[in-house]
Every structure is written in structure tokens, then in C-alpha cells.
Symmetry: C2
Subunit: 320 residues, 2 copies
């Protein structure tokens, strides 16, 4: 079993690699090799199998061909640039998020080996006047270019799967929080930083009100779901391999209350409340009555509560 | 007012050109020039304004640049290869139907002139396990590559419109019947030929049962809707410029009864009833409870009945 993580240097890619290293198996078979490919050198991960780290520019077909070969059994297609970045740089967003996905799928088709492809889409595919609740069968109607690029990726994944070129499964990720490390350029970045920084004694800014609701999942549960996602039987996916990954809706206020329950009152006092006009346009289009019914039936899971999510962060990222 | 029809040599392109020639105006302004661009030389159309006919390969950005210039006010993006052809030739389908659409939109973006772009999508964007009825807000879940390519076109049209690069409006066309001329490679081809040929004394084959339902629109009403579509105010399109074009569901039996009412019993006797396994896979995925609510509210129209549709064919195509 040879597993490739495209985007293997990113937050989810690295946590997935560590989790695979701990398990040693995927889809019922021992992992022989894990390839971590990313635009920058991915960090190493200690594992009981070979770990190969490669630079890969997903927008370049030759570079993609160098990391996907006939032995690659499972591909995690996580590489992407995030929402605010794709909104800022139209060309670069399409180059990485659309053309990159095309390049990976085309490479699989050329090989003829029908690998499992786990694709991460986003709840940003929903929006506009489409009525809530958003279900697995709601219209794709993104209101940001990042969402458009992910929606196109979903449609391609579905078509390449139907045609027998890959065994695709796509998951529309909730906003991942609490993200460790440095802020990225996602409009949702503050949804991690207002917990990550204060829990480590640093200030952070929240540009929205306490009653701002959003749809969240912890990195730990996301990785569990991505592993489960690779292991699903193709016949359980029917004619629609992409679905919403489970998450839960919380308001900022509920999450801050959870932080206070877990870590006392001091962290919340480190939060400032200044508006950021540059992300308002992105945030105002989001509605959050999201029903991840298909994934829940297939055994994927959300966090039980946000306190649990915060404890995962302290265990996995602060303590480690 | 300079109007371009990409696909100006096709059935709808030619009828649209004739209709524009008769009107002389679009969006309240006199038409100065109509450009008919197609992969083969488009037939000429007599008009009270200049008609330019150009060969254009929509899959080639330079060729697209040669037909869209800074004076182009309205672009009809009709060029496409049809369902069975796109299913048979995966590469060619994506090249024409996806990359061709990208090329046209990218040319508009490079010019910075924000033309009106009328894009023809298809009810083939619907399918799979998505529950009926199919509304303007149902999931895009195509089960043929042609539908996938049209769904991608919709998402791009929406994003390019939102970003202010074009003033897009997309319409998911019903199956157009009765189509004049020669059969094309659409899986739905028989839905025209079983009327077109018998009404002109020729035999034709029907590969499905009398109770097979489908969603139809006459060429005449389609052209009326495309003209209306170009004239809609952008603010009436909201955050979802693509919608279902009105049509009506009839069974083959109802349509044959309409033919008998219009032309007597002889034509129906010229129909043979042999299955065609090569189109079964395409047809079996189609469901037809389709509700074109947004377009109906905006004043687009279906045929009142199939007899009317057959009379349009006799008036517009057989008599003429």
C-alpha cells in the first residue's frame, strides 16, 4: 500500500501523515510507503514505513507525474490555496485549485491504475440565494472563487469516478479549528487564532460579534474522517462521491465560553474585537444550517462539543 | 450593438441569427454587426445590419481572441459538442465544452469590457441520487461527461459574473425538439427524428417506450428565451445567474398523439421501435420532474402544448 498526500506539508497533511504512521495500515493493508508532496519541503514524519518527501508544484503536470506513479494506491488531494488568497489572486487560485486538481486526475487517468482519490472540498461551495438547510443535495452556488474552484473539483472527481479513472470520494470540510501554527490567509483564520493565541498567553483579534455562527471541526476529527473516507467502499458512495464532512455549528460566544470552561477566564480577556473590512465581504455570504447526513450515515463524525475540540488542541499541539 | 454567436453555424445559432435579423435590436439598441463564429463556415443570414462569418476553434485561445473584441457587447456562448459525442470522446468533450468556455470567459476578462454572456447549459447537469423535483436550487450532479462540462461552465460563469468580468446569464436548456436538418450525435436525437422524418414521409426509429417522459422545448421558444435572456437586467439575476430554461414534460406517446392530431395518422406509422443499447446508459439516468421557476418568473416561456411545437416545425423548417 503506497499512499500519497498532495499537500503533505500542510496542517492536515502533516497530521494525517502522523496518524497513518501510528496506524501503519490503510484500507486493510499495511502501508509500505508514504509520499509527502508539497510546494515547499514537507517536514519529516517518523513512521514504521518508508516516508518520501518531495517538492511538487501541483499546477505543473510534469511535477504531478513525478509524484503519482503506477504503484500509488491512495491519493489524498489536499493541496490548495485558501479562500482569501484565491479571492485576492484570481489567476493563482484557478491555477492551483482548479488546474492542479485537473492535473492530478489526468495523471491518474493516464496511468490507468484507478487509485483511490480523497479530495477535500469545502462548505464554501454553498451560498447565494440557495435556501437553507444546506444538504448533500443542495445546489453548488459558491460566492467566492475558492468555492467555485472546489465545486469544479467536485464535478471533475465525480466524472472521473463515474468513468472509472479513479475511485473518488470528496468531502466538503467544515472550517478547521483550532489550527495550530501560524495564521494562514483563509478568511476564517481568526476562528482558530482567537483560541490558539490566548491559550498560549498571546492576544488575538476577533472581527465578528459573539453571536456569529459557523460550522467547525477539529483537526483530529478531520484526520479520522479522511482515513475513514479512504476506506469507504465505492458502492456505498453511489452516484455522488462528494458529501459534506460532519461538523457542528457554534457561535463565537459559545466557543469562548468553552475556552473559559477548559482554561479559566484569562484567555478570553486576551481577545480584542476590531472589525476587518477586507474579510467582511467573504464572511457575510456564509450561512450555516448545514446537514451532513450522508457522511454521518457512513460513520464519519463531528466533535461532540467545542470543549473536546479545545482539549484536542492542547493535547495534540500545545503539549506535543 | 455588436453581437457574437459562438456556435453561430448550429441549429440554435442560425435560428437566433435569423430572429435577431428580423428584430434589428437587442437590449434596446440597434444591432450594428452580428458575428457568426463556428468551427465550420456558418451559413449566411440576410439581415439589415452587417453579418460577419468567421471560422473559430473555441478550444484555441488565439482563435477565440480573434472573434471577441472590445466592441463585442453580447456574446452567445452556444458552441459545444453534444452528449453522446462527449461521452464517446472524453478528451474532446473537455477540450471543447470546458476549455472552450474557459477561453471565452478569459478573453472577456482580458478585455475588461464586461460583455453580456449568454451561456447555454443543459438539464444534463442534474442526476444521480439527488431527489426530485429538480429546481433551480438542486445539486449539480451530472451523470454524463457532457453534463459535468456544462456544470463547470455554470460555475465559471457565476464566478466571472460575481467578479465583474462578464455579465453572465446561463440557461439549462431542455431537449430541443423538433430539430430540423440532419440527426446529430446527441443521445436525445431520436426525440426529434421520430417527428421530423415521418412528417416528411420518411421512416424513423424510436428506441424507447411510448411512456418514456422527457423535458422539451421548441427551437422557436428557445430562441425567444435566449433573446429575452440577453435582455434581463443583471440585478434580476441575483447571486445565481444560471437557471433552468422553461420546458414541458411529455411522453413519447403524447407527442405521437399530437403529431396525429396535427398531420393525420400516416406519420406515426413510419416509426419503428427498436432498442439502441448504446444510448440506454445515457437515457436511463434521466429523471424529469423539473421546475423552471426562476425563468418563468422572469418571463421566459415553454411551449403551451406539443401540437404548437410541431406546427412551429412545419412553419419554420418544412414550409420555409
Amino acid at each position: 500500500m503506497k499512499v500519497l498526500i498532495l499537500g503533505g506539508g500542510g496542517l492536515i497533511g502533516q497530521k494525517l501523515a502522523k496518524s497513518l504512521a501510528k496506524r501503519g495500515t490503510l484500507r486493510g493493508a499495511p502501508i509500505d510507503e508514504l509520499v509527502l508532496a508539497d510546494v515547499n519541503d514537507p517536514a519529516d514524519v517518523a513512521a514504521p514505513f518508508a516516508v518520501t518527501r518531495i517538492r511538487c508544484d501541483i499546477s505543473d503536470p510534469a511535477s504531478v507525474a513525478s509524484v503519482i506513479d503506477a504503484d500509488t494506491d491512495v491519493i489524498y488531494l489536499l493541496a490548495a490555496i485558501v479562500s482569501a488568497h484565491a479571492e485576492e489572486d484570481f489567476d493563482f487560485g484557478y491555477k492551483i485549485n482548479m488546474q492542479g486538481t485537473i492535473n492530478a486526475l489526468e495523471r491518474c487517468r493516464a496511468l490507468g491504475t484507478r487509485p483511490v482519490v480523497v479530495f477535500t472540498s469545502s462548505i464554501a461551495v454553498f451560498g447565494g440565494e440557495v435556501p437553507q438547510p444546506f444538504t448533500d443535495h443542495s445546489a453548488l452556488n459558491p460566492q467566492i472563487s475558492y468555492g467555485a474552484q472546489k465545486a469544479i473539483g467536485e464535478i471533475l472527481l465525480n466524472d472521473y469516478t463515474r468513468r472509472g479513472f479513479v475511485r473518488g470520494r470528496g468531502f466538503r470540510l467544515p472550517t478547521i479549528s483550532v489550527r495550530p501554527g501560524k495564521p494562514n490567509r483563509a478568511a476564517s483564520g481568526f476562528m482558530s487564532s482567537i483560541f490558539r493565541e490566548p491559550l498560549q498567553g498571546q492576544p488575538a483579534n476577533c472581527p465578528v460579534d459573539r453571536d456569529f455562527p459557523h460550522f467547525y471541526l477539529s483537526p483530529r476529527k478531520c484526520v479520522q474522517n479522511l482515513i475513514k473516507g479512504a476506506e469507504l467502499a465505492q458502492e456505498d458512495l453511489g452516484k455522488t462521491p462528494t458529501m459534506i464532512m460532519p461538523g457542528r455549528v457554534w457561535t463565537i460566544g459559545q466557543m469562548i465560553d468553552a475556552m473559559t470552561a477548559v482554561a479559566g477566564p484569562e484567555p478570553a480577556q486576551l481577545i480584542t474585537w476590531n472589525p476587518q473590512p477586507e474579510i467582511d465581504d467573504i464572511l457575510k455570504g456564509w450561512r450555516m444550517d448545514i446537514r451532513p447526513e450522508r457522511a454521518a450515515k457512513l460513520g464519519l463524525e463531528a466533535d461532540s462539543n467545542f470543549e473536546e475540540n479545545l482539549r484536542y488542541f492542547l493535547e495534540d499541539d500545545v503539549a506535543g
